[in-house]
């Protein structure tokens, strides 16, 4: 909520009538009406597993965006990012440690946690935008938004692919985080994985294409059947609500 406050301050302070109108719109767009500009914010958070997954992975995307804007040539924007990154780090810690505690407790079936990851991670991948983007290219070339690893990165060869490069870094980091979760899972249990980058996408090259969580192309019927298998069902939600009412569903630390 404070991040919206900060950005609204910049809009009102520096961007005249247009900025003031945009700052108002930030308050007017409602997630429950699916009006937010970023799809992830329109997705309902239905239970604790959703909450921790959101803070671990959606907020991690937020951290990427903040770091990229931290390189901005507009000083009031780049100077805003330090405090925002500090605040975001608490979200990330809450999310990842929450998921680790859930997995450690061993009460929530790994299969359901996987389904929740399958639901949220494609939304996170979408947040980076189109694979090739003239807008993102201009933002880079005009000095408005850098790369996540700007300070150590090689010179940029293909500015229109800047979104895809950031998403690749995020994807690799996500794989590492899921491996951390897997360390908490008993040997005989199935392990968690990151769904393929092509699965469930609503933006970019794979938008509305039919791929499995392993990246295998499927026809329409097979895809719809697959979604029933790999995304949380009403039955899963009922089971989760039941489990999370038990005292030991999440480890104390």
């Amino acid at each position: 909520m404070r991040h919206g406050w900060q950005m609204s301050y910049l809009l009102v302070r520096y961007f005249g009538d247009e900025g003031k109108a945009e700052a108002r719109k930030l308050l007017e767009r409602r997630a429950d009406k699916r009006e937010r500009l970023l799809g992830a914010f329109n997705e309902p958070v239905e239970d604790w597993i959703d909450f921790f997954t959101f803070t671990a992975f959606v907020d991690r995307d937020g951290m990427y965006q903040l770091k990229m804007l931290g390189h901005s040539g507009f000083a009031p924007l780049s100077d805003s990012m330090g405090p925002m990154l500090n605040e975001e780090s608490f979200h990330l810690l809450t999310g990842l440690s929450g998921l680790q505690r859930i997995v450690r407790a061993g009460k929530v079936p790994v299969e359901i946690i996987q389904k929740v990851l399958n639901r949220w991670l494609p939304v996170c991948f979408d947040l980076f935008g189109h694979e090739r983007s003239k807008g993102a290219s201009r933002a880079y070339l005009w000095g408005l938004k850098g790369r996540f690893n700007e300070e150590e990165a090689d010179p940029l060869k293909d500015p229109e692919a800047v979104n895809a490069a950031a998403r690749d870094l995020y994807y690799r980091e996500t794989q590492g985080l899921v491996e951390l979760l897997n360390k908490e899972i008993a040997e005989e249990e199935p392990k968690l994985y990151v769904p393929d980058i092509k699965f469930g996408r609503a933006i970019g090259e794979y938008k509305d294409k039919r791929f499995s969580v392993k990246g295998v192309p499927l026809d329409e019927k097979a895809y719809l059947d697959h979604l029933q298998q790999v995304l949380p069902t009403d039955k899963d939600r009922v089971e989760l609500r039941k489990i999370t009412k038990e005292p030991d569903w999440i480890a104390a630390s």
């Binding site: 919206g4 009102v12 108002r24 805003s80 405090p83």
Partner: protein, 84 residues
């Protein structure tokens, strides 16, 4: 939500408070958990005085939108800030 015109950031804050009521945000619970916390705009120390990449690499960072060399750059900057 009230339709007061926003002229200043204080106007926006009033609209923000109306929005909090509108979404049933529990400010009492919030202040009881985070005692003394107040929403505020915060800025960190500048890391770099110059733009580090792109067409304007090496130029002093823009302190105000009047410093931005072309209107289309300002337009894109506004969009980047407003996308949330």
């Amino acid at each position: 939500m009230e339709s007061k015109r926003i002229e200043t950031f204080d106007d926006w804050k009033d609209t923000f408070q109306a929005w909090q009521k509108d979404i049933n945000y529990d400010t009492k619970l919030f202040t009881s958990v985070l005692q003394g916390y107040e929403f505020n705009e915060k800025f960190g120390d500048p890391k770099h005085a110059e733009i580090g990449f792109g067409e304007f690499s090496g130029a002093r960072k823009w302190q105000n939108t009047n410093d931005i060399p072309r209107p289309e750059i300002k337009d894109l900057l506004l969009r980047l800030i407003a996308i949330q």
